[in-house]
Amino acid sequence: MRNLFSFIARNYFFFVFLLLETLALIMVYQHQHYQRSYFASSANAVAGQVYKWSSGVTDYFSLRKANQQLAEENARLLHFTRESFLKTDRQVFTFRDTLYQRQYQYVNAEVVNSSVSRRDNYLTINKGKLHGIEPDMGVVTFNGIVGIVASVSDRFSSVISLLHKDMQISARIKKNDQIGTLLWEGYDYRKATMTYIPSHVALSVGDTIVSSGFSVIFPKDLFIGTISDFEIRRGDNYFSAEVELAIDFNKLKYVQVVNNLMLEEQQTLESQSENTAR
């Protein structure tokens, strides 16, 4: 026993190293396997606060661009308001219209921190639990998919960006309704890859890619980007297409968090039919 102690005492440097390294690696492992683990995410109150201060300063530099973006969005929304339609039929009865029921709710949020240069990128947004945001909600802008909420604190949320090796999104080619999987292979943050497109499909450069709506997280028909190149890779029997993303993740400032109000209904139904099939 004494020998053991003296052995540890002599090599204590190595044992302290082993202890700390193991501790760190356990944390890495937990983070990779349980994305919601909370300890050192920048949704953490301290880091969130520091980023809020920093964003408070740097916001002024991009005011012109932010204004322009907001004006564009306003114009686009105005396009859909009731005021921009002329009522031609007096018989139309819109009060308590049961034909339409709201499925998606949007919460506006500002990006306070983000990265594009790593293999797994995250964003932090300035809305959290208090604003009704929960893990697994989608994050979008008017022209594309941004990511999925991973963890929330009271006032901040941490978002797994589309630029992450574990992100796979169901996407659709608009002109022929073919479905494929959109993922990011990590070279260029302006370009993603759409894969598993059947090889008989006629593709051409410039085809529009939109979200499929198959996932319960994102609404359908969100513009994602356009095809800039495509090929059948060696050993594959499907097309892989390079997609130029409409979103520039590097200057992303304002995003919308999507809340699918019918998510629970759809998931319950789907799990029910899976169980009966078994």
């Binding site: 760190a24 690696l25 890495v28 293999r119």
Partner: protein, 173 residues
């Protein structure tokens, strides 16, 4: 001794702020992310007790992790750097005995020594960090490229840090 500790704490805070508020926001061509905060561990005294060296490195790494959503990754890489540091110092030093409390600096160690010191340690830190981030070998050569480029840029920045810290030291002596 007292002022020495204050000095290291100030360096800690400054390097965290520089790393988190400036360097993490600049994208050098998309791939490259310099991690200049390792300068903190490099500037600790040569004869610092081993446990304190490892703990300081762990604390630094964890602080950076807190701000960049990389739970444990920077902590693991920085502890690795601290673990190899005594060995690297022994390896590149011709003279084995240092005055107590010697801090690695250009004036006391010479340019050649400092350059080797920076390059070896930064390379080990970045290699460990980048492979931990990828966690697979399928993108081996791209990762190797990222390591090489980031090592070069971090090393240059750390060297500039050494240059900036050198002048007041000389005046004191």
């Amino acid at each position: 001794m007292r002022t020495g500790i204050v000095r290291h704490i100030v360096q800690f805070v400054l390097l965290v702020l520089i790393q988190v508020l400036i360097l993490n926001k600049i994208r050098f061509g998309g791939y490259i992310n310099p991690y200049v905060y390792v300068l903190f561990v490099m500037l600790l005294p040569v004869d610092i007790p081993g446990w304190l060296l490892l703990m300081s490195a762990f604390g630094m790494g964890l602080t950076i992790d807190l701000f960049s959503d990389t739970q444990g990754m920077h902590a693991a890489a920085t502890v690795m750097l601290a673990f190899v540091r005594p060995g690297v110092i022994r390896m590149i030093s011709g003279r084995p005995v240092f005055d107590p409390g010697t801090i690695p600096a250009l004036s006391s160690m010479g340019t050649r020594w400092v350059l080797f010191y920076i390059l070896i340690l930064v390379f080990i830190h970045h290699t460990f960090l980048f492979f931990l981030e990828i966690f697979r070998f399928s993108e081996f050569f791209i990762t190797l490229g990222r390591i090489a480029l980031s090592t070069a840029i971090t090393a240059i920045m750390v060297y500039i840090g050494f240059l900036l810290l050198d002048n007041p030291e000389k005046r004191n002596r």
